[in-house]
Amino acid sequence: MPADGGIGASSKRREDVRFLTGNGNYTDDINMRGQAYVHFLRSDVAHGVLNSVDTSAAADMPGVVHIFTGADFTEVGGIPCGWQITDKHGEVMQEPKHPVLADGKVRHVGDPIAAIVAETADQARDAAEAIEVDIDELPAVMDMKAAVADGSTKVHDDLTSNLCYDWGFVEENKGAVDEAIANAAHVTTLELVNNRLIPNAMEPRVAVGDYNRSTGDSTLYTTSQNPHVIRLLMGAFVLGIPEHKLRVVAPDVGGGFGSKIFHYAEEALCTFAAKALNRPVKWTCSRSEAFISDAHGRDHVTKIDLALDADNNFTAVRTETYANMGAYLSTFAPSVPTWLHGTLMAGNYKTPLVYVNVKAVFTNTVPVDAYRGAGRPEATYQLERVIDKAAIELGVDPIALRRQNFITEFPYATPVAVEYDTGDYVATMDKLEEMADLSGFEARLAESQAKGKLRGLGVNCYIEACGIAPSNLVGQLGARAGLYESATVRVNATGGLVVMTGSHSHGQGHETSFAQVVADMIGIDENMVEIVHGDTANTPMGMGTYGSRSLAVGGSAMVRATEKIIAKARKIAAHLMEAAEADIELKDGQFSVAGTDKSVAWGDVTLAAYVPHNYPLEEIEPGLEETAFYDPANFTYPSGAYACEVEVDPDTGKVTIERFSAADDFGNIVNPMIVSGQVHGGLAQGIGQALLEGCGYDENGQLLTGSFMDYAMPRASDVPFYSVDHSCQTPCTHNPLGVKGCGEAGAIGSPPSVVNAVVDALRRGGHDVTHVDMPLSPSRVWSAMQG
């Protein structure tokens, strides 16, 4: 591992200095001359007919510039959905209209009804109080199974029911799966809830719309993970602005975790209003507003059957899941319970038959979409929980049961349509057993017991699919987008480089790790490479950052563009040294002629490209700038094994995480420090889901967890120091860096290990418990102990 930079070095992050000194440039730090402020009046009921919105009194309030309502948006498109699922009958999903501002009905608490633009943010808020809204309240559709029963109130009157789609995968396998389960030596069945979560990136969403009358150009500054996607969705589908007249800028963004992938109504409103009012318009979301307007995550109710033969080999998996879509289809919502979930249901195991059924349901709740892991945590949780339950029922060791069923030969084609290129699940489990000191568990158990505490150990594996691709495949699966990534590498005359990437960094450290890759390829100092991202005006069209795709897809595009740069630079070097191009070698930033002492420096070649006096102008153009678009041949498949040890207070049911170990295989690693940090953060979110976080609604659709006082975010004292390792490396075979992606692993792999550990603790304490639904709050755990 190099200590001085390049691939494999834990280079310190260059972006840290501005963040540590208060010099970050987040969207809320942007203020335009003459800007007005917008405040959204939102529905305080979950479902109702919107009879009227009387803005007359509010319009006369101090500072009010204009008030928009749904009637102002009848001429523009609605918020689009980016993925169309075809159901098990071959029918396309039901896709409701999603107006920018509520039109006719309100469908969830938080649905925006009016947008008040005023001279100050306080004046806009004050005026909202004076708007009179007349709503005839309707019954709230909350329970997913009831929502799809005959006679249910409909969230969308123009749809046939609340069922968005009924998806079967692989439908042709269903008969064989049913038969295998009917004839199995043992079947373990588990019903569970994957609890609804609220992403809560620490930076609330912000949008600033600006319109330039002299050019007719619109600009949107927004807290986005993918500014090009927002430009396309908002420009083409909502406002009818062509891309060349619309610029979207996502500057420093304070975390995303999926919730900032999606195109939101507030972005369209600010862009629209800036043009309509001819002045910049800014919206800053409050945290309370974020709880009822940011897309939520997870919210699956699942029944899973695992069939085993007499030798405990897995023979079939069958699942039935109800997936909550909320009131409208958020940008990628339909893909999460289907292609990002069903394709992972083989897990790390050679189960020959798998069938996944997903019923996606509309309810009067905030839309649900991708949240860190997106479908893969749901798949992992079901599978790794049912395996532990099977081990209990069969009286076998859960680790041995997993090892017995591991896929051990690669490439491996699963029965759910994907092919794992590489992996070594035995190696990660071996590493985990060493890291977690499993042999010392009994001693630690005795210590806990001596303190009057229960102690448990939970182990599980995970597989994930990152860098979803290739584009032609995802198009067949219903994506209304490509999933390539782009990079432009611009070499300056004096040798420094600017890399413009379509990826977006909002905590991942791309400015550091991407620079390491390019610098390593050329053999120059990292500080000669600058990474530019987040502005559609100066980056090539790219799909942004989510699904742990940035290095595997965006990094690959950068490698391809840099390869083009090096190829051209070699020609220039060959000319300068009057040598054959084939004899030119590049090492440590020096071009040399093989077998001679002739060499020219990187900077000599770049200068020649821009001052082409001694230059093969008849063969190549001056300048040194190249672009590449990279469309992967396959997903990447990171995997790992996790272990959690908990103590449970038998008097209160309170769970504490005593140890957490994670052995991951991410393929090759560019910056180990950053990779560890990504895993740490994912683990905290997974532990949060398992122990603390649960979005609650009452039967009327009122959000019960609408602030940090009610929604339990993990605090520093809720988590331990983690033990993480990524020394098991089976490089990806189909991207040039051999990398797999690490951003979501922690959140995918950790919830089942926590729950497995708590169930283990309760059983060791003499309680006949096989499952407790997340979050494992003290009251739930205590109740489980009472039987």
Partner: protein
């Protein structure tokens, strides 16, 4: 509207505010010092922590007018005039104690207050002290490690990077 006068990072600062103007809004909107962040509206997240007369305060819980005459310190004043990071700031970079950077100003200011009161905190003391600072990115591992390192303690035995 009343005028308020205070000292921010050693310099006199003056502005007119409404009675309801929060200290954090005075800093961000009136003075244009956007290093202090707003991550919630219930005083839970701690992204807005500053020091007022030497004490760590969530600047969203205090009216600007209440800071009349006060000495206020923000993250913008933590590094030396030549840009050299403070011990705490440097430890956060060295130990990867930040990712998206949004909670970071509050973390740095809370850490500074902690180490002033408790120069060698234990792991449990650090975690307990950060009860009012939420981070969604780091899982806290490297924040706790950075603060312990900034206090001069050997953190080399703490797992991972």
């Amino acid at each position: 509207m009343p005028q308020v006068n205070m000292t921010v990072n050693g310099k006199a600062a003056t502005g007119t505010v409404e009675g309801r103007t929060l200290l954090v809004d005075f800093l961000r909107e009136t003075l244009g010092m956007t290093g202090t962040h707003v991550g919630c509206d219930t005083s839970q997240c701690g992204a807005c922590v500053v020091h007022v007369n030497g004490k760590a305060v969530k600047s969203c819980t205090m009216f600007a007018a209440e800071a009349e005459g006060a000495e206020v310190a923000t993250v913008e004043g933590m590094a030396a005039a030549d840009g050299t990071l403070s011990t705490i700031q440097q430890a956060f970079q060295d130990h990867h104690g930040l990712q998206c950077g949004f909670c970071t100003p509050g973390m740095v200011m809370s850490a500074a207050a902690l180490l002033r009161d408790n120069p060698k905190p234990s792991e449990a003391e650090v975690r307990d002290y950060l009860e009012g600072n939420i981070c969604r990115c780091t899982g806290y591992h490297n924040i706790v490690k950075a603060i312990m390192a900034a206090s001069g303690q050997d953190v080399s035995s703490i797992a991972a990077e």
